[in-house]
C-alpha cells in the first residue's frame, strides 16, 4: 500500500515536471539536429545551426538590442520603483493608498492592452517606433513589480535605522545612499534581475512599438514565419539559457544572501 503511494507520487511528480519541461527539452535537443527539419528522428549532434546564428548579422543585432533594452529599462525601473517606494513608505502623502494602488495596477493589465495603449500614446506625441519606445514599454511593465518588491522590504525596523542615522546627523541623501540602499541591496538586485528576465523575453510590446530595430523575440518571430528549422531551435535554446542563468544567479547570490 505504502509502496503504491510512493510510486504514484513519483509518477505524479514526473508527469508534472515532464509537462513543464518536455517542450524545452525537445527544443534544445533538435537545435543539435544535423538535417534541415527539427523533427524526429534525431540525427545529430551537430553545432552547425549555432554557427549559423552566430553569423546571422540581423539576429546578432537583435540580440545586442535586447541586451541594451533589458539593462537600461531595468535600471530605470529599479530607480523609479525605489523612489516611489521610499516616498510612499516614509511619508504620509495625501491619498497614498490610492497612489500605491495606481502604481501596482499595471501588473493586472495584459501586455496586449498596455502595448495598444502605448502605441496610441506614442502616435499622439510623435514618439517614433524604436528601441526607445520598447524600453519605455518595459519600464511601464517592470516598474510596478520593482515598486511592489521594494515597498514590501521597507519595514518599520528599517525606518527606525534610518531615524537613527538622521539622529546622528545624516542628511536625506546620506540616509538614502549610506543606509537605505545598502540595507535593501538584496531586494534591489532581485528586482533588477527579475526586470531583466521579463524584458529579455517580452514579445507583444516589443513587436507593436518597433519597426526597423527590433529585439530578439521579435526577430525570432519573423524567423518562425518562414517555417520551422533547427536554427530557430538554436536561438530559442540560447534565449532559454540566458533566462536560466539569470534565475540561477538570482537564486544563488541574492536570495541565498537575504536569507542568511
Amino acid at each position: 500500500m505504502k509502496a503504491l503511494r510512493n510510486v504514484s507520487a513519483a509518477l505524479y511528480v514526473m508527469l508534472l515536471y515532464g509537462f513543464i519541461f518536455l517542450p524545452v527539452l525537445v527544443l534544445i535537443t533538435f537545435s543539435f539536429q544535423e538535417s534541415r527539419l527539427p523533427v524526429p528522428p534525431f540525427d545529430g549532434p551537430s553545432f552547425k545551426w549555432y554557427q549559423a546564428i552566430l553569423h546571422d548579422r540581423r539576429l546578432m543585432e537583435a540580440l545586442s538590442n535586447s541586451v541594451v533594452v533589458a539593462l537600461l529599462s531595468s535600471a530605470a525601473s529599479v530607480v523609479l520603483g525605489f523612489l516611489a517606494a521610499f516616498s510612499l513608505a516614509r511619508f504620509t502623502l495625501p491619498g497614498s493608498r490610492f497612489l500605491q494602488g495606481l502604481l501596482t495596477a499595471p501588473l493586472t493589465v495584459s501586455y496586449l492592452i498596455i502595448a495598444m495603449g502605448l502605441l496610441i500614446t506614442f502616435n499622439e506625441f510623435g514618439v517614433p517606433k524604436s528601441l526607445l519606445a520598447i524600453g519605455i514599454g518595459h519600464v511601464v511593465i517592470n516598474m510596478p513589480l520593482c515598486f511592489a518588491i521594494l515597498y514590501s522590504q521597507m519595514g518599520e525596523h528599517q525606518h527606525n535605522v534610518e531615524r537613527a542615522a538622521r539622529d546622528l546627523g545624516a542628511g536625506e541623501w546620506q540616509v538614502i545612499f549610506l543606509i537605505s540602499v545598502p540595507m535593501l541591496w538584496p531586494a534591489l538586485f532581485a528586482s533588477f534581475f527579475l526586470s531583466i528576465t521579463f524584458s529579455w523575453d517580452e514579445f507583444i510590446i516589443a513587436f507593436m512599438v518597433s519597426k526597423f530595430d527590433v529585439t530578439l523575440p521579435v526577430e525570432i518571430w519573423s524567423m518562425l514565419r518562414s517555417g520551422l528549422n533547427p536554427k530557430t531551435n538554436a536561438v530559442g535554446s540560447l534565449v532559454f539559457l540566458v533566462s536560466f542563468v539569470l534565475v540561477l544567479f538570482l537564486e544563488l547570490i541574492v536570495f541565498r544572501k537575504s536569507r542568511s
Binding site: H157, N160, V161, R163, A164, A165, R166, D167, L168, G169, A170, G171, Q174, L178, I179, P182, M183, W185
Partner: protein, 353 residues
C-alpha cells in the same frame, strides 16, 4: 542660576482626535539621570520623541540649554537616541556603526578612530570592532547602540526602553553599567521605561506619567515612600489604598477616619473631605510595637513565599477589604489564621486627589 538641560513648556500633543500629551511642564537639570516612568500609552515615549525631534508637538515649546529647538529637526539637535530595537546599521561592522555620527560631523579619520576606540573600550567591547552586527548578542548590541550615541558627545542622551529586549538578569546588570557610564561621562540622560524597579535602581529623578500628564516628579525614595498621587501610589510597587474621611485638621496634620481606626497623618485637607490613605505592605505588621496602632483584625486568605520575604493577603470582614502584607521569611502564617494588623501612622500617606 544655571540653565536647565531640557525644558518642556506647556507641551501638548494630539494625534487626530486623541490627546497624547496635555500641558506638560518639566525641567531637567544638567547631568541628571531622569527616568520617564509609566504604563504603555502613558505618553512617555511621545514626550521622548518630541525631545529627540522625531515628533512636532501640537502646542508648546522645547528648550535645550535655553535654546528653543521646537522647530529644529533631529539631525541638528544636540540630542542622540538609543532606540528600543537598537537600530544598528546591519550592513556595517561595529567600528563603522560607532563612527557613523563622527563621519557625518566630518571629523578627520585619525581623531574618529581614537574616539571610537576609546568609546568601545568604555562599553567593554574594545576587541569587537571588526564584528558584524548579526554576530553580537543582545547585550552587546545594546552597548554598541549606547557607544554610537555617546561618541558624538550629545548634550542630552535619550534612551527609549533600552533594556526592554534583554532578559531579567542581563537587564539588572546593564542598569548598573548605564548608571556607571552616566556618572563617568556626566551627560544628561533621559530614559523611558515601564519597569518601576528599573526606574528606582538608576534614576536621580523619576517622572511618573499617565494618560498624557505628569503625575509625580521626585527622587526615587520620595516617589516611593510619599507618592504624590493615587496613581503613583498604585503604580510604584505594591500598595494598600484605604478610603477615609477627614475628621480633624490642624496645620499640616490631619486625622483620617478609615472605618478601621483613626490615623493621624501628615498633610493638609479640609474636615469632611473624602480622601485616601496608602500603606505599603511592608509597613503593615502583625504584632504591636513602638508607635504602632491597631488597624484592623482579619483572616489570612492567601500566603506565598517569595524568597526575600513572605507575602500574605488578609481579608478584613468588617469593611470587606483585603490587605497585602509583607512578612519576614520566618514569620509563618497559613490561610485561615486570624491576625491583627498594626501600623505606625508615620508610614501612612495621605492622598487627596
Amino acid at each position: 542660576m544655571t540653565v536647565p538641560a531640557v525644558q518642556f513648556l506647556n507641551i501638548g500633543m494630539r494625534f487626530g482626535s486623541l490627546a497624547a500629551l496635555t500641558n506638560i511642564n518639566l525641567s531637567i537639570d544638567e547631568g541628571a539621570y531622569v527616568v520617564l516612568l509609566g504604563p504603555s500609552g502613558g505618553g512617555k515615549t511621545t514626550l521622548l520623541n518630541i525631545l529627540g525631534g522625531f515628533l512636532q508637538p501640537t502646542l508648546g515649546q522645547v528648550k535645550i540649554y535655553g535654546n528653543d529647538v521646537t522647530d529644529i529637526p533631529a539631525a541638528k539637535r544636540p540630542t542622540a537616541t538609543v532606540f528600543q530595537d537598537y537600530a544598528l546599521f546591519p550592513h556595517m561592522n561595529v567600528a563603522s556603526n560607532v563612527a557613523f555620527g563622527l563621519k557625518m560631523r566630518k571629523l578627520p579619520a585619525r581623531e574618529r578612530r581614537e574616539r571610537v576606540d576609546r568609546m568601545l573600550d568604555m562599553v567593554g567591547l574594545g576587541h569587537a570592532d571588526d564584528l558584524k552586527v548579526h554576530q553580537l548578542s543582545g547585550g552587546q548590541r545594546q552597548r554598541i547602540a549606547l557607544a554610537r550615541s555617546l561618541v558624538v558627545k550629545p548634550g542630552v542622551l535619550l534612551l527609549d526602553e533600552p533594556l526592554g529586549a534583554l532578559d531579567m538578569k542581563l537587564r539588572r546588570q546593564m542598569q548598573g553599567e548605564l548608571k556607571e557610564i552616566q556618572a563617568r561621562v556626566g551627560t544628561t540622560f533621559v530614559h523611558v521605561t515601564h519597569d518601576q524597579e528599573e526606574a528606582m535602581a538608576i534614576a536621580d529623578t523619576i517622572v511618573v506619567m499617565n494618560n498624557g500628564s505628569i503625575e509625580d516628579v521626585g527622587i526615587p525614595e520620595r516617589v516611593y515612600l510619599k507618592p504624590g498621587s493615587r496613581f503613583t501610589a498604585n503604580f510604584m510597587g505594591e500598595n494598600n489604598i484605604i478610603k477615609g474621611r477627614v475628621s480633624k485638621s490642624a496645620g499640616d496634620r490631619v486625622a483620617v477616619e478609615t472605618g478601621h481606626a483613626t490615623l493621624q497623618v501628615a498633610g493638609t485637607a479640609a474636615v469632611d473631605d473624602r480622601v485616601f490613605v496608602s500603606i505599603r505592605p511592608e509597613h503593615l505588621h502583625v504584632n504591636p510595637g513602638e508607635g504602632r496602632i491597631s488597624l484592623a483584625e482579619g483572616r489570612v486568605i492567601d500566603s506565598g513565599f517569595l524568597g526575600t520575604h513572605r507575602q500574605c493577603t488578609v481579608w478584613v470582614e468588617s469593611v470587606e477589604e483585603s490587605f497585602k502584607i509583607r512578612l519576614t521569611q520566618t514569620q509563618i502564617l497559613a490561610p485561615g489564621d486570624t491576625v491583627s494588623l498594626y501600623v505606625d501612622p508615620v508610614d501612612a500617606v495621605l492622598l487627596t486627589d
